[in-house]
Amino acid sequence: MRDIRKSFPGVQALKGVSLDVKAGEVHGLVGENGAGKSTLIKILMGAYLKDAGTISIEGKEVEIHSPLQARSHGLMAVYQDVMLARHLSVGENFFLGKLPRSRLGLVDWKKISEVTRETLEELDLSIDPRMLVRRLAPAQQEMVTIAKAVYQKSKLIVFDEPTALLTNEQVAELFTVIEKLKKKKVGVIYISHRLEEIFAICDRVTVLKDGELVGTSRVSETNQDALITKMVGRSVGEMYSIQRPQPGEKVLEVLGLTREPHFRNVSFDVYRGEVLGFFGLVGAGRTEILRCIFGADRCEAGEVKLRGRRVTIHSPRQGVRAGIGLLPENRKTEGLAMSLGVDININLASYDLISRAGFVNVSREASRARGFVSSLNIRTPSIKRKVRNLSGGNQQKVVVAKWVSRESDIFIFDEPTVGVDVGAKLEIYKLIEMLLAKGNGIILVSSYLPEVMGLADRLLVVYEGAVTGMLGRSEFDEEKILRLASGIVNSGDDVKA
């Protein structure tokens, strides 16, 4: 890709970016949200039309006007939200749109099974071609997408944040598959916010910033600090260093919380001014536990005490009124009303506080929104702007503002930094710092170990719905945490199951 330019009304998203990928090379692409990574990929995949510049494949200049053309040139993309027909089998997805026919004109199921199995085996994947895609775990779905790309003889495969939803083990599996792609002389563009992954798998890495190319270098000739500095102009050292106040009184106490089959007998407490980390593999029940406390799901047994008083929370409304704020894992489907303005979203949980006799105090609504836009540094041209049009990091800040403005006591951050760039991450950490200073209790759920280890004062580890460990900051040890999270318990370890 040479000198690609693209502008949208009011913004030039790409200002002459060039990128080349060799066959059998893994090329990392990094940059903050809004740096232009997605735009560049969408142009390559035919989803957007470029304003200027050229794209060449194997030396020949090509024009890509539609996703179909991109595919016919051998370009494929694997996104974090997998694009497969969920209700069809793995094999059918392989042949989607061109099912092979037998002599009678019927679908040739035998051929589908055979070809699919062969391709999957080439990548050492043991997945049954007849399995319905929706029955597969997200990680396996991703592998199926990759295998499909291999089967379609793709020359270049783009991975856009492929590991966002994967556990460490699954990431390793993904990397093995990518290594196999390299051997097959397939070119790979690898986009990720997790820089460790870039260093683990990529040959070269390109940094974009504000739609411009900052530079391309071999990964062997650079390091994480240098990359982050290029991306944001800040060093990695200050990433997780937050001010920690002296923890105060106990604000939340959970005793024997149970909801079969998701989790059982979960007990823990949270103090004012501390971050309680929640760690566990995907599916361990972390989110379910917290949703129960908040009232989004029903619990079967157990009790919740807030500020020393026993409370019953059967609905999110009661949870909100009790002073709990939930920043859900998926902000687009659970946190934000995307088609509404920043002002409404910020006030969404507080309308009972700023209304009288059913009428909204419109000037307070606006002043509160303006206040949080400036104090949380939310980048938006106006408070009326639809949240849909903000970047991921700014959207996340709107969700935070919603709960800060409600003056909640306890904030549950469920994977707050998934899909946000380094700069926005730092701002979210600053927010956590600010909330701590105000004496709030914070529960932080994260699958990203360096993040929980860096931020949490204490760490609760969950495995298959049961608490397998509670560690103080001095006991943090990556191996130990992972062992607890995998249910491997050595004798002598401090375990309450």
Binding site: P9, F359, S391
Partner: protein, 330 residues
């Protein structure tokens, strides 16, 4: 994607699409007002009888009743729902108020009972949709059929005549040269603009329509809001049904047939999104006026009514098409 920080519409030029985009970005109802204005200017020249007081008050009388229904529909559509039962609700309240009055009930109690009965049916819609988790389309499709059956049953499928004189006079009187029906519509418009823009209920309707799960997790009372939305739509339809009775002087069992589609058309032309979370009362009012003006003007010009029907159909699609084109890449 980064956020465009300036509001400039670079690259749009002076093209039609550019102009549309500009209007759309600045003031969503701008295009509609422009279209209505163009219609008026063209018709004023083409059909001499268009800009007469007689014709205009006739136009307003035609649009007022469906306009009231469309406003109820707009609220439902903003909540990401749909209400196919509004036409049957119009028919039901038309027949009910006529039966009550011909059985000797005074006008005011008859109207109040009819409004209450209509609202109750609306709340039942809400119960089916919220508590029964029946998709709005299906729940109200069922209600549309059932309520029509109910009104046929209570009316014996016959016209009901012999309504009190003062009740019938209401639709005939003019206030300041405008028909009384128009002022009823105006009151409904003002009330619902207040509801949608200034009340907590209105905020909740938008929030649920935009993202029901996020609204729930923000502590919004989904049950109350949905009951309210469908009750409001049914109440508006009952008001329309009573106006209809006064205007046509009879209880007519087929009253309101097809109104649900006209109401949806007005809301959609007015910019409401069937995906929920988007729509304005003013837009719907303009949408209803545009469709009515097209029909009225077409009649005056002697255009074949079938061709007119084609034009209305195209207008509905064009409204959404323009919306999509101007939204693209934003």
């Amino acid at each position: 994607m980064s956020v465009p920080n300036s509001k400039s519409n670079r690259g749009s030029g002076v093209t039609l699409l550019g102009t549309l985009k500009f209007l759309h970005a600045g003031f969503a109802e701008g295009i509609l007002i422009l279209i209505l204005f163009v219609f008026f200017v063209v018709l004023a020249f083409a059909a001499p009888s268009f800009l007469t007081l007689n014709n205009l008050s006739n136009l307003v009388r035609q649009v007022s009743i469906i306009g009231v229904v469309a406003i109820g529909m707009t609220l439902v559509i903003i909540s990401a729902g749909i209400d196919l039962s509004v036409g049957s609700m119009v028919g039901f309240s038309n027949v009910l108020v006529a039966i009550l009055m011909t059985h000797g009930m005074p006008i005011i109690p008859a109207i109040l009972i009819t409004l209450a009965a209509g609202s109750a049916l609306g709340i039942f819609n809400g119960v089916l949709i919220h508590d029964g988790r029946v998709p709005p389309f299906i729940a109200t499709l069922g209600m549309m059929t059932a309520v029509r059956g109910l009104l046929m049953l209570i009316s014996d499928a016959r016209m009901i005549a012999g309504l009190p004189r003062p009740f019938l006079n209401f639709a005939q009187i003019n206030i300041l040269w405008m028909p009384s029906l128009f002022f009823v519509w105006l009151v409904v418009i003002v009330l619902s603009i207040v509801i949608t823009t200034l009340t907590r209920f209105g905020r909740n309707v938008f929030a649920i329509g935009s993202n029901a799960e996020a609204a729930r997790l923000s502590g919004i009372n989904i049950r109350f809001t949905l009951y309210g939305v469908y009750a409001f739509a049914a109440l508006a339809s009952s008001v329309a049904g009573i106006l209809y009775t006064s205007r046509l002087a009879n209880g007519i069992p087929t009253a309101g047939e097809g109104y649900e589609l006209d109401a949806i058309a007005a809301a959609v032309v007015g910019g409401a999104s069937l995906m929920g979370g988007e729509g304005t009362i003013l837009g719907t009012v303009l949408g209803a006026l545009i469709i009515a003006t097209l029909r009225n003007g077409g009649n005056l010009l002697g255009i074949n009514p079938f061709i007119l029907q084609i034009a209305v159909g195209m207008l509905i699609v064009a409204a959404v098409l323009v919306d999509q084109l101007t939204k693209r890449n934003r």
